[in-house]
């Protein structure tokens, strides 16, 4: 078997540490395929966390050792949900024409991503420049290589970037024996496929089957177009989109009872926060909005906040502790001087972002979800979580772009489509929230005694 297949096959080990959590009866309301994908997502976070802890402690990585350590962490996570009640399966309902069409759209989007990646049209330069370069170096040393990250000629590898992608790539590289560059680009269509398989089942706890399928197809198609046109194969963007989309979907869905839902969402938010820098403001915004706009949860915010944020705090603390202990970094590096905003560039930034987004299929991956959301006649409270998170992310990105004194046009040109891609997914998910809100209101009217 070639190194590429072995490298991708190693990803099948990721669900093992996530199984103790997802095997709990609280997740019985989710389809099996959704539980398997979520086990992989949670397992990926736990394996990366274990690898960071190993590196911090100076223990060399091995496949068996990392999996056992991550499994122990998974069992601890299971203890946190041990008292959760069982989840109930959503009514099966017929898929009908809309559902079949939606499945076809999502399948076509994944196939397009696969074909485009197969012919080398979606590869990200950043895979070669730092994601892959760091991962193969770490795999060779069986730990995070502080000397490599400290090398003055290698500042462009971004030593402080969070560790999940490089850890998982190194994990697969240790299993395969070498880093296969082409196979690494395959993570884009494969993770997109995993998202397409899991999302409808999770969203069924937020709306009916047909609408869940339609919104899932919308999100998957939008992300496929952005990923193909912006060239994200092999970099951190697809894993980030995976964690972000699943975490918000989990928070919108009531299919999983508390506290299991919060611990699941919290683990997925930790995945986002340890994948890319912008995952941290995303996680904080999503968790905060979930506390202010709870869905199907009577637990108070002080009770829920630790469930949503503890995984992010622990995983990022381990990373920053590693950086501090090796005298590499104490936090994320900044773009320019903090709060030294160059407001004179505001117009340039807006125009450049608009140009960058419209360069991706005329901006349709953002416009179509927006039009669907408007057509869904949103109830703002029901859609507040995804819309508020999108707003917070947009504010963070604009805030970041305004920190450099130099002309930001080139920087925005090569980054905006990628970093604004979660907004497309969030607009789609907001349509689910809007629909659910209307349905809840309608159900409430139906239950209310009619006035005499």
């Amino acid at each position: 078997m070639s190194a590429g297949f072995l490298w991708l096959a190693a990803w099948l080990l990721l669900p093992i540490p996530g199984i103790p959590l997802l095997a709990h009866a609280a997740f019985a309301g989710l389809p099996r395929i959704g539980r398997a994908v979520l086990a992989g997502a949670v397992g990926a976070v736990l394996i990366s966390f274990a690898m960071t802890l190993f590196a911090l402690a100076g223990v060399a990585w091995s496949i068996g050792g990392v999996i056992v350590a991550a499994l122990v962490l998974g069992l601890l996570l299971r203890v946190c949900v041990s008292r959760a009640p069982s989840g109930e399966a959503a009514p099966s309902g017929r898929l009908r024409v809309v559902g079949v069409l939606a499945a076809g759209v999502a399948g076509s989007a994944v196939l397009a991503a696969l074909l485009a990646t197969g012919v080398g049209a979606t590869g990200s330069p950043d895979l070669v420049f730092f994601w892959g370069a760091k991962a193969q170096q770490f795999a060779a040393l069986r730990t995070i290589d502080a000397a490599f990250l400290r090398e003055p000629f290698l500042l462009y590898v971004n030593a402080d970037y969070p560790p999940l992608v490089t850890n998982l790539y190194a994990f697969a590289t240790i299993a395969a024996g070498r880093f296969p560059w082409l196979a690494a680009t395959g993570t884009f269509p494969l993770i997109l496929a995993a998202l397409a398989l899991a999302l409808p089942g999770i969203l069924r706890g937020a709306t009916d089957r047909r609408r869940a399928s339609a919104v899932s197809a919308l999100v998957v198609a939008a992300l496929a177009v952005i990923g193909i046109r912006a060239g994200i194969a092999g970099n951190g963007d697809m894993p980030l989109l995976f964690f972000e989309t699943l975490s918000v979907a989990a928070l919108l869905s009531t299919a999983v009872p508390q506290p299991a839902r919060d611990w699941l969402a919290g683990s997925l938010l930790a995945g986002a926060a340890t994948t890319k820098v912008e995952g941290l403001p995303f996680a904080l915004a999503a968790a905060g909005l979930a506390l202010f706009f709870p869905r199907g949860s009577s637990d108070s915010a002080p009770v829920r906040a630790p469930r949503l944020l503890t995984p992010t705090v622990l995983t990022l603390s381990a990373w920053f502790a590693y950086g501090a202990s090796r005298h590499l970094f104490l936090g994320y590096s900044r773009q320019g001087q903090f709060l030294d905003l160059h407001l004179e560039l505001l117009g340039t930034v807006f125009r450049s972002v608009a140009a960058a987004l419209s360069s991706i299929a005329g901006g349709l991956p953002w416009l179509v979800p927006l039009l669907c959301l408007i057509a869904a006649r949103p109830r703002l409270r029901a859609a507040a979580l995804p819309l508020g998170t999108a707003g917070a992310l947009v504010a963070f990105l604009l805030f970041t772009y305004l920190h450099r004194a130099e002309d930001p046009r080139l920087w925005i040109f090569w980054s905006a489509a990628r970093v604004f891609s979660p907004v497309a997914a969030l607009l789609g998910l907001a349509a689910t929230g809007a629909l659910a809100g209307r349905d809840e209101a309608r159900a409430g009217r139906t239950r209310s005694p009619s006035p005499e």
Binding site: F129, G132, A140, F153, L154, Y156, F179
Partner: protein, 99 residues
């Protein structure tokens, strides 16, 4: 960029682990050399890759001139910079140092 990427991949089996190497272009182009330095770091793991340029600016020769191996993307220089190990349509690989 593709010819240099291809050449660097071809040179990998000929450059031993731990050796120092620099990727240059003929004629010198600091922007291209910046990219080839990054490609070399990725495609030649285990070697000490020295930069001929960083962020589009040429580096002082004392940083890279003692590299044991030279990957030269583009034409062949008039004066051989060492022992020729590989010649392709994309460029050449040279081992330098005492004969």
């Amino acid at each position: 960029m593709a010819p240099g990427f291809a050449l660097l991949r071809e040179t990998a089996p000929l450059i031993p682990n731990g050796a120092s190497v620099v990727a240059r272009t003929e004629p010198s182009d600091p922007t291209a050399e910046t990219y080839f330095h990054r490609f070399a770091v990725a495609l030649l793991p285990g070697r000490r890759v020295l930069p001929a340029a960083l962020y589009g600016s040429p580096m002082p020769p004392e940083i890279w001139r003692d590299a044991e191996y030279l990957v030269l993307i583009g034409g062949t220089p008039a004066k051989p910079p060492g022992l020729l190990l590989l010649q392709t349509s994309e460029g050449s690989l040279w081992r330098r140092g005492p004969p």
